[in-house]
Each structure stands twice: as structure tokens, then as C-alpha cells.
């Protein structure tokens, strides 16, 4: 663990991506494969199943330090991270320590807590803490409670592995995709020479992601070089037809098998060695448009959907790319060619496999007009894809753009605040906003992002001085400040007090020019709701 702690410190101590990549590559070259495998896993954002609750961690801390619960809470509020609070509050003791390997922590020690009674778990935690230097107390707690957050993306881990293994990043990304299981052999296999059948397995191809179009659309050049499609509001997925079965992978690289039997059935009808990329949508037969995302959500949550749910909320795959056909990787072929093959492949296969239609327009101006229909068509806008582009890996700018319609906006009042985490820890940065329902303000959205550091600091000071009430970390504040929020969609929701739920809310600006009476009304929001 000492070696990994040193790596973590090196990553935490620089904002330079190249320095981070070098540090990881050096670690991969140096560390025992079994530990390096777990480092790949946790740095890439992987977590263990949680085996101790925050309450248990606090109890263990209270027992170990004899500090009052309120003082522990105050410290946690101030630090914003429980793992770190514990590391800072425990007595420092710099005697020589045992050093347990990272893989032992991940494979044996941390999972073992899950098999214990709560009281025993607390004792074992205290025992561990006593034997560890402060940095490792922090790391062990982090591994126990969630992700590391050290400014390293999955992509950067892939690049570091590629640097160490001296292989192309795309190949490493593919080898890591899907449910990669950490282990010495798996780690060594990441660096092995490329095999011809490498892609025939069960792992999905790394998804190619579009970037938001920020420049004027005419800057993209001639319209004829581009394919325009609707930007569907569903679940991005790869459907893989393998020798004797069909797999569905989400963009988050989770297996969705079992949840969408109608798509698996349609996929089984294709010849083996074929991979489609597309969007899963809830769509009632004979309707012109898909059901709202909220309907699809019912399906996502059900591992084995019953007959009624299948009948009420059927799904289909809106296919827009073909990554493999007859066992051959097509990703380097131009989009125009992949799309022609895709059209030929699914032609006449019925509604469950649909080809995402091209939105035809000879001029950007015509597309701009068509784009205004996006909402009525239950889409989020348009996708623009360069016809001669390969299917790339990750979010590479230039070939795929998402050209979303302008989001909805509302003016809402700040009602609650709580401290953020990570970079924002210790500051009140997580806000809840409300709108008027009669003469009461009801919460409708939570938002974290959108203010600059100066505004966050100003608001933080204001919140501390104008707290009405505290509920754990949450403070209710005087209704004073109005913010303009943007969001992508709004739906009726029985689970929310306000009766509506907004998707992807974010703060556009602090409306210091508005008083709280100028904030929007819940009725206006209900009218916008689509389902």
C-alpha cells in the first residue's frame, strides 16, 4: 500500500496531466501486477461494494478519539470528506508500521467487514487505523467509502497504461471496457501483443462520444459533408450479437441483459459477429414519437419486466452505427459506408430494430428550422456526424457534434444549501431551489454547477450568516436570492413533492436583479411537463 500511497500523493500534488500520466506509467512498470491491477480499477473510478456505513465510521472515530459527536460533526462539516476528517482527527503516531499490499486490502480486508456484525466491524476499523500512517488511514477510508477523486479520468488511466505497455490507447481502452476484473493475469494481459480475434469477445467497443456544438453551425463547412440525425433521449447502448447469445452494454459499460428482452430477441435474429450502436427508446407501436424518458426509466429499473410492463412500455433500438459485421471490425471505415451496411442489415426487420433516420436538408439554414421541431418530436436536438469519419474512441472533438435545442429556463429561489465534496469541500455549493405554489415556495431542483468561484464564496458567506435551520449537513436559508436555472426536460413525477421533476438542472446565473416574488410559479412548470 505504501507504493500506492506514494502514487496517490504524486497525483494529488500536481495539476499537470502529463505529470500525472508519467507518475501512473512509472507505477505500473514498478508495482506488483496484482496491486497494479487494483490501482487501475480504483483510479479508473471503480469502487468496492460498501461494507461499512458512515455512522459506523463515526462511531469508530468517536470511540478511538473520545471526541464528542457534535465535535466530530463540526469537523466533518468543515472538511467535507469523512475519510479525511478521520485521518486528521486520529492521533498521529509515527512509529514504524506494517505495510499491507493494496490487493490484500481490496480482495480480503475491506470485503471481510461485510461479513461482520456492526460492533465487530467498528473494532476492526479501529485496529486498522492504529496500525496505519495518516496517508494510509485516509486512503483506506476512501477505498471503503467510495471513489478516490484525485483528478484522474478513466481516459488518463488508459493513456498511462498505453504509455507503459507501449500499445495504442484504443486497444487498451477496449481491453479495459466492460466488466474488467482486476487481477495479476488481467493486468499482464493489458500489455500483451494484439491478437487478431481481440474484438470477438464479450467486451463492448469503447463508445465514441459527441461534443456539444459551441461554434456557429455554418463553420462546419458544406452541409453535404455531414449526416444529420435526431438526438434521441434514451439510453445509449451497444447490442452485440455473439456466437450463441446477445449482449447489451450501456454507455456506462454496464450489462443490461435481461432488461430489454424484445431487443435481445431482435438481435438474435442477426447473424453472429455483429455489433450495433444506438439508443434504446420506449416507444408504443404505431406512434410517431417515442415515450418520454420517464417511461423508459420504469424499464431500466426492472431486471425481469412483467407482461404488463412489456405491453404498456415496449422498447426499441434506434440504431445509428454498425461497429462490426461478420466478425470484422468496421470502426476504421467511413461513416457513410458503415451506415449503408447498417441500413442493408436491418432493412425490413420490423420496428424493434430501427434505422435512425437521416434528417435531410441541403442548407444549414433549413436544418436550423427543422431543429425547432426537436421538442415536439421528443428529441433533444440534432446530431451532426461527418460522413467520412471513422468510429473513434471517447470524446474526440471534430467529427461528432450534438446540437441541442436551447434548454428550458426558470427563475427559482434558493431554499437549502449543503457543503460540496472534493474540490468544493467545506463550502456550501449544493443548492436546492424552489418556485411558488400559491404563497409557498416548493423545492423543484437541485443544482451544483454554474457559479464561478467568486460567486460561490460570496454565496457561502451569505448562507452561513442567513441560516434559519439545520438538518444534518443541510441548512435552510432565508428566501432571498433568485437564480436562473436551465434544464433539459421536465416531467410529471409522483415521487417529488412538487409533482414535477426536472432533468440535468444547472445554474445559468445569479439574478441579483430579481426579487423572490419574480420567481416562477409551479403551475408554469407543470404546463411544460411532458408526461
Amino acid at each position: 500500500m505504501r507504493r500506492f500511497a506514494t502514487l496517490f500523493e504524486a497525483l494529488d500534488r500536481t495539476s499537470s496531466t502529463s505529470a500525472k500520466r508519467d507518475a501512473m506509467a512509472a507505477y505500473f512498470a514498478d508495482a506488483p501486477a496484482q496491486d497494479a491491477a487494483w490501482a487501475v480499477y480504483v483510479l479508473g473510478g471503480g469502487k468496492l461494494k460498501r461494507t461499512a456505513t458512515s455512522t459506523e465510521l463515526r462511531s469508530a472515530l468517536a470511540a478511538e478519539t473520545r471526541y464528542a459527536d457534535w465535535l466530530i460533526d463540526d469537523c466533518y462539516q468543515h472538511v467535507g470528506d469523512l475519510a479525511e476528517t478521520i485521518a486528521l482527527m486520529l492521533p498521529r503516531d509515527d512509529e514504524s508500521r506494517e505495510d499491507t499490499a493494496l490487493h490484500v486490502w481490496m480482495e480480503a480486508r475491506l470485503p471481510s467487514l461485510g461479513r461482520m456484525e456492526s460492533a465487530e466491524r467498528i473494532e476492526v476499523l479501529r485496529e486498522w487505523w492504529r496500525g496505519l500512517p495518516r496517508e494510509q488511514v485516509f486512503l483506506v477510508n476512501k477505498l471503503l467509502t467510495g471513489s478516490l477523486r484525485v483528478g484522474v479520468s478513466h481516459r488518463l488511466v488508459v493513456q498511462a497504461l498505453a504509455q507503459w505497455a507501449q500499445l495504442p490507447t484504443d486497444l487498451i481502452a477496449h481491453r479495459l471496457s466492460g466488466t474488467w476484473k482486476p487481477g495479476a493475469e488481467a493486468f499482464a494481459a493489458l500489455a500483451g501483443p494484439e491478437r487478431p480475434d481481440e474484438h470477438a469477445g464479450e467486451r463492448p467497443y469503447p463508445f465514441f462520444l459527441a461534443s456539444p456544438l459551441e461554434q456557429d453551425v455554418t463553420a462546419l463547412g458544406p452541409t453535404a459533408d455531414w449526416l444529420a440525425e435526431w438526438k434521441w433521449d434514451g439510453i445509449r447502448a451497444q447490442v452485440m450479437r455473439r456466437e450463441d447469445h446477445v449482449l447489451i452494454w450501456s454507455r456506462g459499460e454496464e450489462r443490461l441483459d435481461g432488461r430489454f428482452p424484445e431487443i435481445e430477441l431482435a438481435g438474435a435474429d442477426l447473424a453472429p459477429g455483429c455489433v450495433l450502436d444506438g439508443e434504446i427508446l420506449a416507444w408504443t407501436p404505431d406512434e410517431a414519437h417515442p415515450l418520454p424518458f420517464a417511461a423508459l426509466q420504469k424499464r431500466i429499473g426492472k431486471l425481469k419486466p412483467g407482461a404488463k410492463l412489456l405491453a404498456d412500455t415496449p422498447v426499441r433500438l434506434m440504431a445509428y452505427d454498425l461497429l462490426e459485421l461478420d466478425g470484422i471490425d468496421l470502426r476504421e471505415r467511413p461513416l457513410s459506408e458503415r451506415r449503408a451496411s447498417l441500413a442493408a442489415l436491418i432493412e425490413g426487420r420490423g420496428p424493434t430494430l430501427m434505422l435512425s433516420p437521416a434528417v435531410d436538408a441541403s442548407e444549414w439554414s433549413a436544418l436550423t428550422t427543422v431543429r425547432t421541431e426537436s421538442r415536439e418530436r421528443r428529441t433533444e436536438g440534432l446530431m451532426l456526424k461527418r460522413l467520412d469519419s471513422p468510429y473513434r474512441v471517447g470524446r474526440k472533438r471534430g467529427d461528432w457534434w450534438k446540437w441541442k435545442v436551447d434548454p428550458y429556463t426558470i427563475d427559482a429561489v434558493l431554499l437549502y444549501a449543503q457543503p460540496g465534496h472534493g474540490r468544493r469541500s467545506g463550502l456550501f455549493t449544493d443548492y436546492t431551489f424552489g418556485v411558488w405554489d400559491g404563497d409557498a415556495l416548493v423545492p423543484v431542483a437541485k443544482a451544483y454547477s454554474g457559479l464561478d468561484d467568486a460567486e460561490i464564496g460570496r454565496l457561502d458567506r451569505w448562507i452561513r450568516a442567513h441560516t434559519i435551520d439545520r438538518f444534518g449537513p443541510v441548512r435552510s436559508v432565508e428566501a432571498t436570492h433568485v437564480f436562473e436555472l436551465a434544464f433539459e426536460a421536465i416531467q410529471a413525477s409522483g415521487r417529488h413533492k412538487a409533482g414535477v421533476a426536472v432533468r440535468f438542472p444547472r445554474i445559468l446565473r445569479w439574478r441579483t436583479d430579481l426579487a423572490i416574488r419574480d420567481a416562477d410559479k409551479l403551475d408554469d412548470l407543470r404546463r411544460l411537463a411532458t408526461g
Partner: protein, 340 residues
């Protein structure tokens, strides 16, 4: 009544029995000033009493024309119906605690203080008293300062790393107190010249004149045009971070020396590559120890959000109150971070 000796007023903390203010924020007739930081020493008052050890810094801060009376450590002098003496607080060069004897009681206003050793100033002197006014800038048990030798190791490691990578090492810290302490601590381990931002030059000189041994320094502004700062240590006040002044160093790794660097989120929020935990204020154990050492019956807490310290002191059998509970009114000093 404690308020005979200490009463918060809009101008600052007032002593009715002695008719003087301690660290007034506005011009007054008579002031006793604990130390030269901007949130304690303000110009415009008619008369100042200060510790001799900090006399030169005070003249620098208050202006040469100010009427400044200097007093040796522990020298007793009368003010109104009280007898005053000044005692080292260990915060920065010449920083004093104010002992007030009057109306049959002894009160000590500790100003800013720390208990950790510091080669640039006299160590904190515990002064027995009935009423103790303590700061609480770092009033939570997560603040426990590492030994300075460890921090110096860390700084030297950082300098080596910067030299290896061919980048400049820019260390931000407060210009008065912290900068000199770091220069003095580093002087025990290396003899490299440190390049200084203009705002630090006169203050470093004042410390040298007071006999503090520090690393050799050179003003950044006097460096040759196009000088390569790769592998060099530069020190600057935090206000220079992100300014155009930084451009001359090309690629640089940045560090910040402050007690706030104890918390990872605080460092990441400020965007420094490295945080070095060095503070001129007392940490949590230092605060508790000082309360015990002075043996006061009543503790008043100021300078920072003292809620947790007060509650903890009460839980452990002390009579502790926020300073404002003495009545009157006084603006909160917590807006300044100078010297943290």
C-alpha cells in the same frame, strides 16, 4: 465585572479602567497594539504602546510620524487605573500579549499566538491571569501542526523535484512573519538564494536588522531580463498568484504555506500544486494548552468561528464565552487571513 477591564466597542476592544484600546480598527486616543499585521495595527491613532521587539515593524506599518512608545518585555507601565505589561505571544517578531492589571483582577489579551517553536521570534510566555482572551483561528481538532522539520523536508523535496523537471518553484505565503519564518527554517538546511516578490523586501530587511538569520535573498525585479528561473525558489504573497507577475517564470509549480493547507479540499480549491502546513497561529492542542497554562477562571474567544472551542471548553469544565458576550459591539475580525 470583566467588562470593567474589557469591553467590545465599534472602534475595537476597549479597556474602560485604563481608557485605551487594544488593536483598534479606527483612530483612537490611546492604543496598545499587539503586532504589526494589518488587521491589528492600523494607522491614525494619537498614541501607540507596543513591544520594543516589534518597534521597527510597527514604524514600518504605522508610518514614521506616529507617536509610538516602546516597552521591554514584562516592563510594567500605568495606563489610567491599570498597570500594563507586554509578553511574547510567539506569533511573529515582536508580537505581544497584553497583560492588564486593575480593579483587583488580571486579564490577558493574547492577540494572535502560537506554541510551536519559531526561530524568528520569542516563544509564547504563559501569563497567569483571571481572564484570558484567546484567538481561535484554527479552533477545530483537525488542526494539529506537523513538526516544522517534516515540513522543511517536504519543501526541500519539492525544490528537488522542481529542479529535476526544470520548472520554477513559487511559494506563496504572507509577507510578514510567514515568509521570514520559512527563510529562517530553510537556512538551517541549505544556502540557496531565494528570489523575493517586491512586497516582501522591506519586511525581510527589517527581520535581518533585528538579527534573524535567514537565507540570502534577491529581489525578482532586479533579475536580468529573460533570466531562467527553472529550479529556483521564489517567494511571493498570495495576491501575486495568477497575476501577470507570474509570467516571467514560465513553467512553475506553485505551493502555499498556511495552516489552511491541512485540509485537502482547501488546497485544491485554491488551485495550488502543493500545500505546506505552516501556521503562525495556535493549533487545537496549542489553544487548549494555553487555556490550561494561564489558569484563567474565564475564557473569552475571538478571531475566528469560536463556537466549537467554546463548547469544548465548557464540556471540559471551563467558563468560556464568545468575546461579544461581554456586551458592546465590535466588528468581527475574521475577514482577514493575514498570518494564517
Amino acid at each position: 465585572m470583566d467588562s470593567d477591564l474589557l469591553l467590545p466597542r465599534p472602534e475595537g476592544l476597549y479597556c474602560p479602567a485604563g481608557d485605551f484600546f487594544i488593536d483598534p480598527m479606527q483612530p483612537v486616543a490611546r492604543a496598545v497594539v499587539t503586532h504589526a499585521h494589518g488587521d491589528h495595527a492600523r494607522s491614525g491613532s494619537a498614541l501607540y504602546h507596543v513591544a520594543s521587539a516589534g518597534g521597527a515593524l510597527m514604524r514600518e506599518r504605522l508610518g514614521a510620524g506616529s507617536d509610538i512608545r516602546e516597552h521591554a518585555w514584562s516592563e510594567r507601565f500605568p495606563l489610567g487605573d491599570t498597570v500594563i505589561s507586554l509578553h511574547p505571544s510567539g506569533h511573529i517578531l515582536g508580537a505581544a500579549q497584553v497583560r492588564i492589571e486593575g480593579r483587583g483582577k488580571v486579564a490577558v489579551v493574547s492577540g494572535d499566538y502560537k506554541r510551536d517553536p519559531d526561530p524568528t521570534c520569542e516563544p509564547f510566555e504563559p501569563v497567569p491571569c483571571d481572564v484570558f482572551v484567546t484567538e481561535s483561528t484554527f479552533g477545530l481538532p483537525i488542526y494539529r501542526w506537523p513538526p516544522m522539520s517534516e515540513v522543511v523536508d517536504d519543501m526541500l523535496g519539492w525544490l528537488d523535484e522542481c529542479r529535476e523537471r526544470g520548472v520554477a518553484a513559487v511559494l506563496f505565503c504572507y509577507a510578514l512573519g510567514k515568509a521570514q519564518r520559512v527563510l529562517a527554517e530553510l537556512a538551517t538546511r541549505t544556502d540557496r538564494t531565494v528570489h523575493l516578490h517586491g512586497a516582501m523586501l522591506r519586511l525581510v530587511e527589517a527581520y535581518r536588522e533585528a538579527g534573524v538569520r535567514m537565507l540570502p535573498t534577491a529581489p525578482v525585479s532586479e533579475s536580468a531580463r529573460g533570466k531562467d528561473f527553472a529550479g529556483e525558489l521564489i517567494m511571493a504573497p498570495p495576491s501575486a498568484a495568477g497575476s501577470t507577475w507570474m509570467r516571467r517564470f514560465g513553467k512553475a509549480s506553485t505551493g502555499f504555506a498556511s495552516g489552511w493547507m491541512q485540509v485537502r479540499g482547501a488546497r485544491r480549491r485554491r488551485g495550488y500544486d502543493r500545500g505546506f502546513v505552516v501556521s503562525d497561529h495556535a493549533d487545537w492542542p496549542g489553544l487548549l494548552r494555553s487555556v490550561e497554562d494561564c489558569g484563567a477562571k474565564r475564557i473569552y474567544v475571538t478571531h475566528g468561528d469560536g463556537e466549537a472551542l467554546i463548547r469544548h471548553l465548557r464540556d471540559t469544565g471551563h467558563d468560556a464565552f464568545p468575546l461579544r458576550s461581554l456586551g458592546g459591539s465590535m466588528p468581527d475580525l475574521r475577514s482577514s487571513e493575514e498570518g494564517d
